[in-house]
Amino acid sequence: MSVCPDRKTGASLVHAMNTTLTVIIGLALYYLIYRYYGRYLERTVVGSGEVETPAHRLCDNVDFIPANKYVLFGHHFASIAGAAPIVGPVIAMVWGWLPGLLWVWFGNIFIGAVHDYLSLMSSVRYDGHSVQWIAGRVIRKRTGYLFSIFVFFVLILVVAAFGSIIGKIFVKEAAVPSAYMLKIGAALVLGLLMYRLRVNFLASTVIGIAMLAAAVALGKAFPVHAGYQTWMIVFFFYIIIAASIPVNILLQPRDYLNAWLLIAGLAAGGAAVLLAFKPMALPAFTSFNAPAIGGRPTPFWPVIPLIIACGSLSGFHAMVASGTTSKQLAKETEGLFVGYGSMLTEGFLSTLVIVCMGAFAYDVMPTATVETLKASPPEFAAGYTAAVKSAGGPVGIFSRAYAEAAHSALRLPRDFMTILASMWVASFAMTTLDTTNRLARYTFVEILAPLKERLPSLYRLLANRWSASTVPAATGIALAWTGAWTVIWPAFGGANQMLASIAMMTVAAWAVREQRVRGLNILVPALFLWLTVTLAVLWFIVEVVPGFMAKSPVQAYVLGAITLAMLVLNLVLIYDFFRPEKAGG
């Protein structure tokens, strides 16, 4: 792309964008907004912040323990960081790099981070109770139940979404599954060292990191080739087994290794794009209706929240914020740093992804493809998703672009960095596969609770440990079976944003009704979000599901049913929001 420094039109300004500049602007934007808008939010909604937090007031050294704000930030950020802030932006590149970036910046600032922050603070004001519990109190009792249903759908759809994305990269790049399996081995060994034998923490960490590096290096040497559907079956059994074994054998050490992958990935990625000074090669904007989902022209608004969730806005974060984080917040004034701050940090991660892709994606595609895509923005939009698919899906293209950035800016070996990046995303995605199963076991039974009185035998049939584990896992894998990630990903995004919808409405209701603030700056985003998500899901059902029906009828029906159910429940939600139950009723 040519850079024309003389012309001051918007077009050339955009052309002048390079990785470094974009990242710096992003950082500056986040910082300023944090300082000014964040503080403003804190003042108007939360107040002076002199109220004692439940961590002190209800301190019991069990759940309620005041934590150091950096420790809490680390915990909270690690809990919301995953594979989604990486995968989403890659898919959204089809509209060009600018629209996605604007959503990651402004969607995050005005909706996403606000959502996270207020979920945290409302929970703090409610003795550490979750947004789900609060929804049941400030909106309507059944809103809490609705919440569980949406959570359950998220838990199933995320298995389908992540499973299919990881399946694609496992097929395309056979070094990745073997590196991942070696990493599992490393986690088991680390678990033994750190938690059983209680070897010194520093020593165990060093050994763990060394094993991780070895896994990445050896993955290339011993690739594991298998078909996509074979991987789906493997994932199913992996989920069932991993979700059944004690936490300190696999889950805990694996999470610790993931934290280091995140640190390494962020540090190397951040350094690479900051030092690259490479201009953005991909088009800034292609078309409003680029074919992102199922090959259909996809309107950027309202569908973008379904594509880029975490990194900009994610309903699940409301649960994390009002789960353990709110019970450990030492001072109300630290809430902005922990809640608003972590979401902005995740936005930073997504910014890195977009910038990396924008500047380096062409360098890792076959020349013929690049020719076609460069021809014109509409050509780019038409061909981008196919190019992603042939690279091994979003993980495939991202890991290569990332490695290219790391190589060109930091002279790090391409192969190693490609596998490292793939492992980074795969690790977080695979973790989510089995941890969501653990949650799904619980949520499944919680949702079936009304059946207990009315249809006890059906309840007994369904609400046992075995079926509560296999039904969500099997459904998720079944949906992922055909590998149509372009269709499944937005479905998962839809469920997640429905959750965000409830959370935003709950905190808006809290702000307006309990805190008695004018709350327009929360109410407007909440209603805007509700509208956006409803329209997006409606579009999905009308435009995408029928097309999907032709290719994979079973999956399409299930997906259609789930999204339709969510749509209906979303309407119930807005109805209940405007007609809340009287307190004490």
């Binding site: 069990v62 938690y195 923490f201």
Partner: protein, 303 residues
């Protein structure tokens, strides 16, 4: 050293039979510890002495003790309640005294207290004793008393295992978090854990009793009443369920064999049934000793 338990319905002559054996063995030169857990407190009537507490030598070679069940249970509970009151003095849990007094009526306190007392007694005297003769409480309590070590051991093992896992996890968290750990005050050493220690004490007592019961000789005393037959069968089945067999059946107060008597002999056809004649003066020690002469060696002979 043998342990002999006398079981049977109240009123069939259990205490008298146990007294017979005790006096018989003592007069033959054996050192006997005769303990009665029966709340009917017949021991002193039969032994012809005034009521006493603790163990006392009422005849040469014969140490007798009457465990007052009510006082025994009282004392057992008091001990635990006192410990709890001390620990929870600062916790303000409800109405402390009121809550813990309810524990008296907890299911299982009686048999816990009684087996504890029995275990203590056996342990105290077994070195210098050749034979322990036990007069057991009424059937219900007797069966629960026998069953207690068997069910307890299972629970105690599981709880100990669980406790060790908890301590292990605490140790892991402590070793990594150091002074940041919420568990730095909570114990994490298996060797110093009071819960494990207490469980160990209970485990030891339970296995001790299990061994005693497994090795013991159980004598079923009955008469020719219909109700006695029914209860005797219940006793047999109840003991069989925990793997304890009846070694000898005494058909007491025997004059002539009636219908019920025949049915008893039939029901226990695989065991020796000894017809014990009606004893007029149960306070006469010599008569008592002689009554046992007919069947005492059946006991000492059996493996």
């Amino acid at each position: 050293m043998r342990t002999v338990f006398f079981v049977g319905k109240g009123g069939v002559g259990k205490t008298t039979s146990s007294a017979s054996l005790a006096f018989h063995l003592a007069s033959a030169g054996g050192k006997v510890y005769w303990v009665s857990i029966d709340p009917a407190h017949n021991l002193c009537d039969i032994a012809g002495c005034r009521p006493f507490r603790g163990a006392r030598e009422i005849a040469p070679n014969l140490l007798a003790e009457e465990i007052d069940m009510e006082r025994c249970t009282e004392a057992y509970i008091e001990k635990n309640i006192t410990r709890m009151k001390e620990t929870y003095r600062y916790l303000g849990i409800l109405n402390l005294e009121g809550a813990f007094d309810i524990l008296r009526y907890s299911p299982g306190m009686e048999e816990a207290a009684v087996t504890a007392a029995l275990a203590d007694g056996i342990r105290r005297y077994r070195e210098r004793i050749d034979c322990i003769v036990v007069d057991t409480p009424p059937t219900g309590l007797m069966l629960r008393m026998f069953a207690l070590p068997f069910t307890s051991i299972l629970w105690i093992e599981k709880l100990s295992e669980w406790r060790r896992t908890i301590l292990g996890r605490r140790k892991t968290v402590n070793s990594i978090l150091g002074k940041d750990s919420p568990y730095r005050e909570a114990g994490d050493e298996a060797g110093e854990d009071p819960v494990l220690r207490e469980l160990g004490v209970e485990a030891e007592r339970a296995s001790f009793l299990k061994a005693v019961f497994a090795d013991a000789c159980v004598v079923l005393v009955t008469d020719q009443e219909r109700l006695s037959l029914d209860e005797s069968l219940r006793i047999r089945d109840g003991l069989a369920r925990i793997g304890i067999g009846i070694s000898l059946v005494l058909l007491n107060k025997f004059r002539a064999l009636n219908e019920t008597g025949k049915r008893i002999i039939e029901a226990f056809s695989d065991r020796t049934v000894v017809k014990v004649p009606f004893v007029e003066d149960t306070a006469d020690r010599k008569v008592l000793a002689e009554t046992a002469a007919g069947w005492a060696e059946l006991i000492t002979r059996t493996e």
